[in-house]
């Protein structure tokens, strides 16, 4: 029963693919060729990006269908578009040349050609193997007669249908084809996608190029990570040296003096004991602040959600926190996310002068997504030296990204995405 269902589904999909690969591929191919040819006249520069983007969307749809329908995975080969494209005509020219320089564009066009011919021929078998047997049976049920009488020498496959006998033969052949369809139909659709994959998937050199880019990026983020952690260690060393350590030395000295004074001048000794106690209290406070800066205790005890809530409670402005995390991320990811939120909140209060802040933390499709929004005066930029770019570097170590939307006049929205799994 499932076999029959799969066969019919494959037949329907095959029919759809056959129609689309004829109509869609031919149209897009013609438009692409015309548009690229018109670049010489100038107009093409304006139309080509649009047409090629449509081609990419069309090809991507086929890639997705290949995965969903036939379990054929076709990676997307396109080069990443740089984020800082100019607007206006120069931007358009730049976009056009970037698209034309991408070898994946030319392979897409080749695929359009193959799709409208070989792709169509392969995939048409799926609906044909379902529909043709039906025709054979219809002939055998008597329809052959009027056709024959009208003078039509109807052929069914290799059978010339000129008698009931031959018509029965046609029905038998149709049945055989239907049985064949039961076995091969899903494979036919799969075959179509495998054919598409030969041109739609990235080639070895494209993969190499992508890998090389990835290596560059990893090198960069690793350097940043080493650099920031070294700076962090230096800061911690300095804080300990000038803070808690110095206070403990002072305490030790005070205790020595107290020892000498305790019999001669008990009143003075008592005074110094109070001072020593105060020193120890301050040393503790400094250590606590330091610990909070290294790894906040609530984060260790409760995880990211409650740590962000605790952080919000410390802010002088009302902050709404919405957390939807079904588990805990790995500790370094949690810490990076926490400090990112902390920085964004500090900015909201200190620079944007917001009087309301919203934090949203959730996890979906393998991504930890965080948004910090405030109603302050906006105008925040992700430039060198700003706290936000430090956060961006830190998130980069985990392949995380940060985006800031902050028009002058507000509101400011800082969004972060870190790929990670929850446990």
């Amino acid at each position: 029963m499932t076999r029959l269902r799969n066969t019919l589904i494959a037949g329907t999909r095959g029919l759809y693919l056959a129609i689309v690969s004829l109509a869609g591929s031919i149209t897009l191919f013609v438009f692409s060729v015309l548009s690229i040819a018109f670049i010489l006249l100038g107009i093409g520069v304006l139309t080509t990006p649009a047409v090629l983007t449509a081609v990419r969307k069309y090809a991507n749809l086929r890639r997705v269908q290949a995965g969903e329908w036939s379990d054929v995975h076709i990676p997307v080969p396109y080069r990443k578009r740089p984020a800082d494209l100019r607007s206006g005509v120069t931007g358009q020219v730049e976009r056009c040349s970037l698209l034309l320089k991408d070898p994946a564009t030319w392979r897409d066009l080749q695929w359009l050609l193959v799709d409208m011919t070989a792709g169509f021929v392969v995939v048409i078998f799926a609906p044909a193997l379902v529909l043709y047997p039906v025709y054979g049976w219809v002939l055998a049920l008597g329809v052959w007669k009027p056709i024959y009488n009208a003078g039509g020498g109807e052929w069914y496959g290799f059978i010339h249908v000129n008698s009931q006998m031959a018509a029965n033969g046609a029905a038998a052949l149709g049945t055989a084809l239907a049985v064949l369809a039961l076995f091969v139909n899903p494979a036919v659709v799969r075959g179509h996608f495998l054919l598409a994959r030969t041109l739609l998937a990235p080639t070895a050199s494209m993969r190499e190029r992508a890998l090389a880019q990835r290596v560059d990026r990893l090198e960069e983020t690793r350097y940043d990570a080493v650099d920031t952690s070294a700076a962090e260690l230096r800061r911690i060393e300095r804080d300990l040296h000038d803070g808690a350590q110095a206070r403990l030395v002072a305490m030790g000295m005070d205790l020595g003096t107290i020892e000498a004074l305790v019999e001669k001048d008990p009143a003075k000794a008592k005074e110094m004991i109070a001072k020593a106690r105060q020193n120890s209290g301050e040393a503790l406070t400094e250590l606590r602040d330091l610990v909070r800066g290294i790894h906040p205790p609530v984060l260790a005890e409760r995880g990211l959600g409650d740590a962000v809530k605790a952080l919000a409670l410390r802010l002088p402005v009302p902050t709404e926190v919405d957390v939807d995390l079904p588990g805990r991320a790995e500790e370094p990811v949690e810490a990076a996310a926490y400090f990112a939120v902390s920085e964004a909140l500090t900015n909201a209060v200190k620079y944007a002068e917001a009087d309301r802040v919203w934090v949203d933390v959730h996890h979906e499709q393998g991504m930890l997504r965080i948004a910090v929004t405030d109603n302050g005066k906006g105008g925040a930029v992700l430039g060198a030296g700003s706290g936000l770019s430090g956060i961006e570097r830190r998130l980069g170590t985990f392949d995380g990204v940060l985006a800031v939307s902050s028009p002058v006049g507000g509101p400011t929205m800082v969004t972060m995405e870190i790929p990670c799994e929850l446990s």
Partner: protein, 216 residues
């Protein structure tokens, strides 16, 4: 008065045991881990428990969770929670059941033995002992808004001490004024904040804390 003590660091546990014994408390049990604490709280039925937030084996907020669970099983079970850091989030959870008999203090507060013992006794008697840091954080969020902004500096000072769980007598002693003056300040504060006046000290503190925590 029988105390159950939970603290995983030997030096601190030892010091606390000696301090509590010096002030005539009976140590019913001094335990190191969360499961031991739960067992001691259910079986020994102490008059008060002094609990470190972070305990083994998980080294997360296990002590706090044990204390909260024990208070759910036995509402009003007096618990004083100690920690290296204080969080409003935890204070709120401890106060959430509105039952009183809770304390939440920084570990530093044990330096001042008398104040600390006073806090333990207050909690055991069903009162409250909130760390000054928690109260300051709560108050700092209301610096400008009405009606807290309408308090005089003195009233604010009294409110701060009251929110920590101190009695009128203790506040009077600390600010070096008469108890009657404090009573007058408190009734002014309650009038300005629009809170119902209560003779019960503990109810009073819980009302003030709930007031300060609202809207966040």
């Amino acid at each position: 008065m029988r105390v159950v003590l939970a603290e995983d660091l030997f030096l601190l546990r030892d010091g606390l045991v000696r301090m509590l014994e010096a002030f005539d408390f009976e140590i019913a049990a001094a335990v190191e881990t969360g499961p031991e604490l739960t067992k001691a709280l259910t079986e020994l039925r102490p008059d008060v428990a002094v609990v470190d937030v972070r305990l083994p084996p998980s080294h997360t907020d296990e002590g706090l969770q044990c204390a909260l669970a024990a208070r759910r099983a036995r509402p009003g079970l007096p618990v004083l929670v100690l920690s290296q850091h204080v969080e409003q989030l935890y204070a709120r959870e401890l106060l959430a059941d509105g039952n009183g008999g809770v304390g939440y203090l920084l570990k530093d507060r044990v330096f001042d033995a008398e104040q600390f013992i006073d806090a333990v006794r207050r909690v055991a008697a069903g009162g409250t002992a909130m760390d000054p840091t928690v109260i300051q954080q709560l108050l700092s969020r209301h610096t400008t808004d009405e009606p807290l902004g309408a308090l005089t500096p003195r009233e604010r000072e009294v409110l701060e001490l009251m929110a920590q769980g101190r009695s009128n007598a203790a506040i009077a002693a600390q600010l070096v004024v008469t108890e009657r003056a404090i009573a007058k300040h408190t009734s002014n504060i309650f009038a300005k904040l629009g809170l119902p006046v209560s003779d019960d000290d503990n109810r009073r503190v819980l009302a003030v804390l709930a007031y300060l925590d609202q809207g966040h």
